[in-house]
């Protein structure tokens, strides 16, 4: 594959600042991707530390370690940090690194905006985390910031709302960049239906971001004016309606769930064919299933708020619409299994994490269907069953997929193979303890333990103890992940360009480590590259 430079569009290539300037002013998609990934990993540990505070307090019944108000701040901040600081930036980082290479583009379409998208994030999270040190403390009303509770806290709400706006601006700019890149920068011959699944899922995710981030911005702006400027959008005493906030929030919130899982589907759809040494089964149906899930995500929002009271017809609509999501998701699970069927499978760390994803995400999906059933939801609502459900979806779903992706592409990024033995140990350690952490929470929820409480009745003691042990073991085990990445970045066995025997696609045609500039001259793409087509063997 040619990487010859051309003349005028590449005149910035000779300019390679070093040190801090290299990272501050970088417009290179690979460097910005690295920045996103490092930022995400940092936030993963910040949010993880908050989770450990929560699990330490819940280790035994009674109030022992932290003040209840601080406990509520921890649940709120843990969610905000993990969603907006860890999971979303990790996927954006992976998109930055891989999307241009996968479609044969030299860089992102808008490289300067790409730099800006990233560098907004540290400021947003400084604002967010600074609220912990303010006199009234951080917001403690949950990440959903439901009024009236969120309006009864301190002035730190203003900082959180500004931080959310900044994160939203960053996400919107990132999404515009990804769509502009995919629609305009594909190499000749890289038709839409030849694109790798990771690119497809990100294209659809970017449209979701464009559609819902302004909705969140609108909701929190109204919250801001209610709190500080005397409006009553959500204040019943002034003629407003707090339930309106819930409707607007979840119109953003449910597509947000898919923003965090669709790119994970894309990653798994890349990894399973590679380690099964077969093309992905049902490529086209995967694309349509992804688009269907994205569409459905806009018409199911009220399943988060069945208990507020709504007409029977509305409950039935939202219940059935939610259940319908199981169909395209089931298609995906079926296709992944069919891809593995009679494949020449091997079980390197990325494949292990991808398989862990398929099994454990399905558990999260099934508890999701349970939650969709209105009468059952009245029992499960606001219990630990919900906590167990979304942690299966987000930890063993999104985060396992991110870890799979890191192991899969790390040799391409660093030029070295990671320590396979340690990688496998990391997988098994994480898989065992994450189940010890979250599975008992299903039972706690079914038995009626409410979420977001620092103390609980003694009958919940055993399962909470088990869950906390799992939490600490899983949490500290992630230090191994950092060690493996650090060790791989420093050296080790040299990686080949293709890295994995079954890997296909443009990103595997460039050397490892991928040079700073790739595909300055667009590659020609034909069916031999577009290996995801069903007809190919």
């Amino acid at each position: 594959m040619s990487t010859a430079t051309t003349t005028h569009q590449d005149d910035h290539h000779g300019d390679h600042p070093t040190g801090l300037a290299r990272w501050l002013f970088s417009t290179n998609h690979k460097e910005i991707g690295t920045l996103y990934l490092v930022f995400s990993l940092t936030m993963f540990f910040v949010g993880g530390a908050m989770a450990l505070v929560i699990r330490a307090e819940l280790f035994a019944p009674g109030l022992q370690l932290v003040h209840p108000e601080f406990f509520n701040q921890m649940t709120t901040m843990h969610a905000l940090v993990m969603i907006f600081g860890a999971v979303m930036p990790a996927f954006v980082g992976l998109a930055n690194w891989m999307v241009p290479m996968m479609i044969g583009a030299p860089d992102m379409a808008l490289p300067r905006m790409n730099n800006w998208s990233f560098w907004i994030m540290p400021f947003a999270f400084t604002l967010l985390l600074a609220t912990l040190f303010m006199p009234t403390g951080a917001p403690a009303a949950g990440w959903t910031l439901y009024p009236p509770l969120s309006l009864q806290g301190g002035n730190s709400l203003a900082f959180v709302i500004l931080a959310i706006h900044l994160m939203g601006i960053s996400s919107i700019m990132g999404a515009i960049n990804i769509i502009a890149t995919i629609l305009n920068m594909r190499a000749p011959g890289m038709t839409l239906l030849r694109m790798p699944l990771f690119v497809w899922t990100w294209l659809i995710t970017a449209f979701l971001l464009i559609a819902v981030m302004p909705v969140l911005a609108g909701a929190v702006t109204m919250l801001l004016t209610d709190r500080f400027f005397g409006t009553s959008f959500f204040n019943a005493a002034g003629g407003g309606d707090p339930v309106l906030y819930q409707h607007i929030f979840w119109f953003f919130g449910h597509p947000e769930v898919y923003i965090m899982i669709l790119p994970a589907f894309g990653i798994v759809s890349e990894i399973i064919p590679t380690f099964s040494r077969k093309p992905l089964f049902g490529y086209t149906s995967m694309v349509y299933a992804t688009a269907s899930i994205a569409f459905l995500s806009f018409i199911v929002w009220a399943h988060h708020m069945f208990t507020v009271g709504m007409p029977l017809g509305a409950m039935l609509f939202f219940m059935y619409a939610t259940m319908v999501i199981a169909v395209p998701t089931g298609i995906k699970i079926f296709n992944w299994i069919a891809t593995m069927w009679r494949g020449s499978m091997s079980f390197e760390t990325p494949m292990l994490f991808a398989l862990g994803f398929v099994v454990l995400f399905t558990i999260g999906g099934l508890s999701g269907v349970m939650l969709a059933i209105v009468p059952a939801n009245f029992q499960y609502h606001d219990t630990y069953f919900v906590v167990a459900h979304f942690h299966y979806v987000l930890v063993t779903g999104a985060i396992f997929a991110i870890m799979a992706a890191v192991y899969y592409w790390l040799p391409k990024w660093t030029g070295h193979m990671y320590n396979e033995k340690l990688g496998k140990f990391h997988f098994w350690w994480s898989t065992i303890w994450v189940n010890v952490l979250f599975f008992p929470q299903h039972y706690l929820g079914l038995a009626g333990m409410p979420r977001r409480i620092p103390d609980y009745a003694v009958q919940f003691a055993e399962f909470n103890l088990i869950s906390s042990v799992g939490g600490f073991m899983f949490g500290f085990g992630q230090l191994l992940f950092v060690y493996i990445i650090w060790q791989c970045a420093r050296g080790g066995e040299k990686a080949t360009a293709q890295v994995w025997e079954g890997a296909r696609g443009l990103e595997w045609t460039v050397p490892s480590p991928a040079p700073l500039h790739t595909f300055d001259t667009p590659p020609l793409v034909d069916d031999r590259i577009a290996v995801h087509q069903d007809k190919l063997t």
């Binding site: 379409a109 999404a175 515009i176 305009n184 909705v215 609108g218 909701a219 109204m222 959008f233």
Partner: protein, 44 residues
């Protein structure tokens, strides 16, 4: 760079700017739809 390549580059740039502007417009419209309706409702 040959003329055809330069033309391709120009077209690509035009496409990028057009895509970005349309998407940014959609974002602004959605934001105004939510905020604008709310603000109008508040003052009416």
């Amino acid at each position: 760079m040959s003329d055809s390549k330069s033309q391709m580059h120009k077209n690509r740039r035009r496409g990028i700017v057009r895509t970005a502007l349309v998407l940014a417009g959609i974002v602004v419209l959605i934001y105004l739809f939510f905020i604008g309706r709310a603000v109008l409702g508040y003052f009416s």
